[in-house]
Amino acid sequence: MGELLEVTNLTAGYGDGPSILDGAHLSVEPGKVHCIIGPNGAGKSTLLKAICGMLKIRQGDVKFNGQSLKGLRPDQILRKGICFVPQERALFPKMTVRENLRMGGYSLDDRSGLERSIDEIEERFPILKERRDQHAGTMSGGQQQTLSMARTLIIKPAIVMLDEPSLGLAPKIVQEMFDIMKMMASEGITILLVEQNALMGLKNSDWGVVLDLGRTLFKGPAPEVLADPRIQELYLGGKKAA
């Protein structure tokens, strides 16, 4: 079966620095939420950045619908339907909410269609309609995160990659973000989630992917990963490793 996204033996790093990812593998299940967990420095964010083209692939390959993404620029990869929401939320603080949404559809050439899509998104996320003429930088953390996630929907992506959407948000708001994420998945969008809070991340995901030292240790259904004693010990603050 042709996989939607298939990462094989991926090696990547920053600039001329050492490789952070060193032989990572990943295959995704369409329309499911995949939570990538692992200790600090395991290469979780690096994996997402390599997939979206922000980092050069040194070895290995990333295939989307059977086509290699190697050597493509981020804007070219975006046009294929892979959206990345980085940790810093990637908003334009001094542009209005509406302008931020419009930038989300920058790659679309159908401008009137774009305005319609923005209207639709405003209907679905009333807070964005309410704040449409406000500068994005003046919104709360949760609202900003809502904006950056909602913005991905404009291009009707196949895959959305979220790098720590919970960062700096109150627990109650975090759950709202996960709910938006699950709603996106229920519409057929495949989600790759990187989450520092592995417990929360896995509870809201279908699949768990464990990364360490730049390699994929294993992938399994999220409940199984949650229950795995190794994971309990290493990442979930269960019994300390001896």
Binding site: C52, P86, A90, F92, Y106, S107
Partner: protein
């Protein structure tokens, strides 16, 4: 009272020209993080293009303005390709651009001096020395025209940045380069185009400068600190801020000139630069400076 109004008018007229001189600098800094010390020297180059059009063929400086803008925009693209593009990925990018633009300023000055000598020049269309009198208050026509044209150009630039698709991409790149790239903006193209527009604005400003001031190749040194003070007070990269700062400082400078003598009027800008950096380094509309 009359003197106050008179001074105010002269300050505003000068502010309009400075606003255009500074806005190109601000745009280039905003998008590219290049502190373009060569900007004033390129304004002088624009003034020469205008001067020769007027001198050789009698073309009005305001008609020469688009020509100067296009010629300088072309030079901008060339400069970008030759000098800045290869540095864009360097870790010491900001430091390098200060040195590179400084060197560029010297080269431009040298080239202009070599081609056109160091004689003081000024284009002198009829209106440059005309004035309207309202009572005892006079409005110099040259500065009035220059101020109006300058504001029209800045207005067009602002509308382009606010409402056009590419203008939005430029603003987005200024605010968050990575995010813009992730949303499909070709940030390299945005870089080249903003550089071209910024230097084109220097050319346009040069056309106005050519009949408002007398100029010679080394004149740009006088303007480096002046323009820096405008851009810093405005908040690095904020064009609206630069425009407001231009009016504010030009009006203050005009009054300082009247009250303390014209020697002190230029000092206003230097002193302002100094004070702004001490008191409010982010300027009127800038971000708080990052420590990193």
């Amino acid at each position: 009272m009359e003197q106050i109004i008179q001074t105010l008018i002269l300050g505003i007229a000068l502010g309009g020209v400075f606003a255009l001189m500074g806005s190109g600098l601000s745009l280039v800094f905003g998008v590219m993080r290049i502190v373009n010390l060569a900007h004033p020297s390129l304004i002088i180059a624009g003034a020469y293009v205008t001067y020769w059009g007027f001198r050789l063929w009698g073309i009005d400086p305001l008609v020469m303005l688009p020509v100067a803008a296009v010629v300088l925009a072309g030079i901008g693209v060339l400069l970008y390709k030759l000098v800045f593009e290869r540095e864009a990925r360097s870790a010491k990018y900001s430091e390098m651009t200060v040195l590179l633009t400084f060197a560029t300023a010297m080269i431009v000055e040298g080239a202009l001096g070599f081609m056109f000598t160091n004689t003081q020049r000024v284009t002198s269309p009829g209106y440059a020395t005309d004035a309207i009198f309202i009572g005892n208050v006079f409005i110099p026509m040259g500065q009035l025209y220059a101020g109006i044209v300058s504001l029209v150009i800045i207005g067009a630039l602002a509308a382009f940045l606010k409402y056009s698709r590419f203008g939005n991409a430029i603003r987005a790149t200024t605010q968050n380069r990575d995010a813009a790239e992730l949303l499909g903006v070709n940030v390299n193209l945005v870089g080249i185009m903003s550089f071209a527009i910024g230097i084109g604005l220097a050319g346009a400003a040069g056309a106005l400068v050519s009949f408002v001031f007398s100029f010679f190749p080394a004149k740009h040194w006088e303007w480096v600190a002046v323009l820096m003070s405008l851009v810093v007070l405005g908040g690095m990269g904020s064009i609206l801020g630069t425009v407001l700062a231009s009016f504010l400082l030009s009006i203050i400078a005009a009054f300082v000139g009247v009250w303390f003598g014209s020697t002190w009027s230029t000092m206003t800008f230097f002193l302002a630069l100094f004070l702004i950096l001490l008191v409010r380094p982010q300027g009127l509309f800038g971000e708080k400076p990052e420590l990193a």
